[in-house]
């Protein structure tokens, strides 16, 4: 990979990637530990003719990016725990109205104000089920700045492909850690352009009528097609309807467009999985410690592997089941009370072989914490 080499924070890497992906509208409200994303974008966006807005709160931020996305722009907001909670209603609106947007949540401890400056991975389930109603959602994460760069570009690409909000779930350590980042050359990572309708002015345009491939061409607000956008159940013209068949079909469409493409959306890193007796499953900064454990255990002759998830939702049940089929012990490493653990237990044939290695005290889970739990599980003492 050629390109510019930088030494940056994760939050900066996220900004660089968003700019690379074509971000040109950001609205946000500062909150630790995501603040640097807003700060860097306030500097970077106007240089490219883009807009940065500091709104009065997170609710307004989410609403403003939806408005801007409708006019044809690539949009993003960034926040942390409590701010993410505030965004949930408008996030549901973006799901319902099928509006592309990227929402970055650099997680902090919770519930409530919790632990602003410390690491946590407690928002996995909020990302999935935070907004009300049945819906599907895409949630991505990363453990290194290079991966973070790629996954941020992926987030924009998926948002445009599926006409949906995509959540980028980072954690404090990733956001604030500094390490090397190679910014790819232009064109090195393909970018998805929004699918726009080719219908001419005056032709009846259906903003919510899927093509055969399931994708729905959009028309920019302010363009030649005047249509309605609503958070209510709506027909193919975007007008409110409570017709039972239509309501049913709409919910199915919102869920199926993402669930049916799970194989395309699923991203992961695999380390020494082929012969592994013990498999660690981790994501975000916890995956860095887990990776260290795998490397040191391997040197000691232990058959340990790591499955690092980069797609958290839709949960990659198939991938987890396949990779864990031959393992005796599966240890989910995360900094919460077991939010991905639940998905792994659902996925595997022997849920009783799945254990949790966690820290919930605002301190990064260290390799020694993981090895300690491994020793207990393996009956080798503490």
């Amino acid at each position: 990979m050629k390109g510019k080499i930088k030494f940056v924070q994760g939050n900066e890497a996220c900004v660089e990637a968003a700019m690379y992906a074509g971000l040109d509208f950001f609205a946000g409200y500062p909150i630790t530990p995501s603040t640097e994303i807003a700060e860097h974008l306030s500097y970077r966006l106007p240089q490219q003719g883009g807009k940065f807005l500091q709104m009065e709160d997170e609710i307004a931020s989410m609403c403003a990016i939806i408005g801007a996305s409708l006019t044809g722009h690539k949009v993003m907001t960034a926040t942390s725990g409590p701010g993410f909670s505030l965004m949930q209603e408008a996030l549901g609106y973006a799901v319902m109205a099928e509006i592309p947007a990227v929402i970055v949540n650099v997680q902090r401890g919770g519930p409530s104000t919790g632990n602003p400056t410390h690491v946590s991975q407690g928002d996995v389930n909020q990302a999935r089920w935070g907004t009300h109603g049945d819906h599907a959602i895409i949630t991505l994460t990363a453990s290194s700045h290079q991966d973070l760069f790629g996954i941020t570009v992926d987030a924009f690409n998926m948002a445009e492909t599926y006409r949906t909000p995509v959540i980028l779930l980072l954690d404090e350590v990733i956001g604030h850690m500094r390490e090397k980042l190679v910014v790819p050359e232009d064109g090195e990572i393909p970018l998805v352009k929004r699918l726009r309708t080719s219908l001419k002015e005056g032709v009846d345009y259906h903003p919510y009528f899927p093509r055969e491939d399931g994708r729905i061409p959009m028309s920019d607000f302010g363009g030649v097609h005047r249509y309605n956008v609503t958070g209510l159940y709506h027909d193919m013209w975007g007008f409110p309807s409570d017709n039972p068949r239509l309501v049913h079909d709409l919910i199915r469409h919102l869920v199926d467009k993402i669930q049916n493409d799970r194989h395309v959306i699923t991203r992961c890193n695999k380390y020494h999985l082929d012969d592994a007796r013990t498999i660690l499953i981790a994501y975000g900064s916890a995956a860095r410690s887990a990776h260290h454990v795998v490397e040191t255990s391997r040197r000691e002759g232990q058959r340990v592997g790591l499955l690092e998830l980069k797609t958290l939702w839709p949960f990659p049940h198939g991938l987890v089941r396949e990779k864990c089929a031959k393992a005796r012990t599966i240890i989910v490493v995360e900094m919460n009370m077991g939010q991905v653990l639940a998905g792994v237990k659902q996925a595997v044939d022997n849920p009783e072989s799945v254990f949790l290695a966690n820290r919930i005290d605002g301190v990064l889970i260290k390799p020694v914490d993981i090895t300690g739990i491994m020793r207990i599980i393996q009956g080798r003492g503490v």
Partner: protein
Amino acid sequence: MGVKDYIRARFFPHIWCPGCGHGIVLNSLLTAIEKLGLSKNDIVFVSGIGCSSRISGYVDFHTLHTIHGRAVAFATGVKMSRPGLNIIVPMGDGDALAIGGNHFIHAARRNLDLTAIVMNNRIYGMTGGQFSPLSGYGVKATTAPYYNIDHGFDIAELSVAAGATFVARSTTYHVKQLTNIFCKAILHKGFSVVEVLSQCPTYFGRKNNAGSAVDMMEFYKNNTIPKGSKAKDENPDLIERGIFVQKKLPEYCEEYDKIIKIAKNRS
């Protein structure tokens, strides 16, 4: 074009109750747009939730029916990303000033070029007649069965204090004045607020023995006076109509363009 050319006729009849003032507001607003000769493709209606907010479904413009209280925030994103569009934000009193109060005052402070219309019927209509922040002291509502002890806002004073550069008030009785004010508000470069006193005979009227829709409009006729009238000194309960503020201040999109110029020069 006639006013009818601006509506989506297939969505009529509308959902508003007989006697509701919102139809008059719609008519007056479309008359203003017709007078100004604006292109349909250049107009965006952004509304929140409530009886008033259904207005966006009825008009043949770009229409965005959002979530409760957040219309101004959505509109901010639309306007900032496409400054050439005319953005009209029709809201109810609860929508604009209870749940949406924060967005309302901050949009006024920024002086973003939006036309905010508060269709003030002093009640939550769609949920069945609960009191709103504009109901006022002593009013009865389904959630104020004895009487309401919350004091109301004065929308005009609030908007002026928050920094809106165009502030006006009229009623559904004074349709000509209302149309005239809408024209000025839409043309105004900056955040404009138009408060329209609009009757809700179904809930406000019935609970408060205000009579029929006609009686309620008679009330607007007899209890409002042009801004600056001396009658206000004798009877402070009279409500002033007209333009309260109309001033020039830098508009937000134009200000941001200056930031872009500076940023590009430095990079």
